[in-house]
Symmetry: C2
Subunit: 272 residues, 2 copies
């Protein structure tokens, strides 16, 4: 595996690649969720490129940019073990300049995460577009846990006619059900235990739906009931365009939960 | 020459091209200025692609979107004569959807044209990014007449790390000096005569500068003096980043003029 820290290095290498490229953009602190993306990229492409870049523009003022876990050495080992070809770890100063041309998420995205974190998706789209321009991947891999992010990146590729396939990847969980997240390290023991109620409530919702329940309010009641001791930010049942729905459609529904544990927001969801 | 009217046709053809592509995006009503871009593209690339698309998002409410000259048949002949390989003429409905992810020009661009036409450059950048995504050109050709547009497109390619060379091309003029523009057809006989004062004042400025004059105010006075009977919107002497300068730098100065003739705005400039 070769580690690239400058744009020039990446560009030089990119020019010489004529085969399929699988790209996994990350903010580091890699866990089994990231590893599943990398493995899928490894299976489906000749060349695998992973980027690690804690992107400042997707953090709002007061969010955890400075505290965000950095584990460069462990991450390098993981990428090496996963047979990544190139690991791109650029400096902030090389990725951004002053007075940039910006990417702007549509007003319709200012719901759910877009409502809770206004401007967050602008920053996500900005960095992903930059990385796509540099890496020019064949396939790019994103987890379904950040469902709205995945949806907007898919939309960006369509809107800007980018010649890239976006590959959605399943959520990876701890054996007890907690969805993997780099932010799980923020949880204390009590919070870690309580956090289980999120996936538990999603499983309960799935069980209700398996028993032919289609009424969104009844399903939401069940979820809120299980999570009553938590500080729930939102429970949303939406279609693939993130419009709230009143009835479950087995082919086109996502159930999303965000709960807070102190300053830590945990996201989870299931795609029906 | 093959005419492509759908995105699918363009994509199919693009996939099969492995050689250099010169791209000339236009809004049609082609004149000798466009032809000079196409000729340069023809000289420098294996494949030449021209697009004709009157882009609605770069017109402000009340501007001349509906009146903008359409000359599809003449344009096709011109492209054919210039040995264009592919002429792309898409429908509006295939280029845009509802609630799109947008490109946003920086606040620093809200001077000169950006001040007179707020939002105009957002629309320009949006369509150029889309066309770049579809055509994936090696080289893209833009005239210096739209100096600020050229500067922003060059910036977009840098900011988003697009693997495209932007090739600036010289302004082409009528024999009497008037800079070519698709909007010149809006001028009546009197306006067409008066419009000559624009290039005349630019030549006078160039002559002063050749005689070692470096004082911006003296040069502006000369320009305004020659254009005193015109409705001048602005005269600006700027550096390559479009910051106004107080002293002429022979390697880094652009003199820009915009004058109005009824509803018609004419732009002209010289790059020192």
């Amino acid at each position: 595996m070769k580690i690239l820290t400058t744009i020039e290095e990446l560009r030089d290498i990119r020019k010489k690649i004529n085969s399929s490229i699988g790209f996994v953009p990350t903010m580091g602190a890699l866990h089994d969720g990231h590893i599943s993306l990398i493995k899928k990229a490894r299976e489906e492409n000749k060349i695998v490129i992973v980027s690690i870049f804690v992107n400042p523009t997707q953090f709002l003022p007061g969010e955890d940019l400075d505290a965000y876990p950095r584990k460069d050495e462990a991450d390098k080992k993981i990428c090496n073990m996963c047979k990544v070809d190139y690991l791109f770890m650029p400096q902030i100063s090389s990725m951004y300049t002053e007075n940039e041309i910006k990417v702007k998420a549509p007003n319709t995205s200012y719901v759910l995460e877009g409502f809770s974190r206004p401007g967050h998706f602008d920053g996500v789209l900005q960095i992903v577009l930059k990385l796509f321009g540099l890496v020019l991947p064949t396939n790019a891999y994103f987890g379904k846990k950040d469902a709205q992010q995945l949806s907007l990146i898919t939309q960006m590729v369509k809107d800007f006619f980018l010649p890239i396939n976006i590959i959605p990847c399943e959520i990876v969980r701890e054996t007890d059900g907690l969805a993997l997240s780099s932010r799980n390290v923020y949880l204390n023991k009590k919070q870690r235990e309580d956090a289980l109620l999120i996936s538990k409530s999603l499983y309960a919702a799935a069980t209700l739906i398996a028993k032919e329940q289609r009424d969104v309010e009844i399903i939401k009641d069940k979820i809120y009931d299980i999570m009553q001791k938590l500080e729930v930010e939102y429970v949303a049942i939406v279609d693939r365009e993130f419009n709230e729905v009143s009835k479950i459609d087995l082919n086109n529904t996502i159930i999303l939960i965000v709960a807070r544990f102190g300053n830590t927001r945990l996201l989870d969801n299931i795609w029906l």
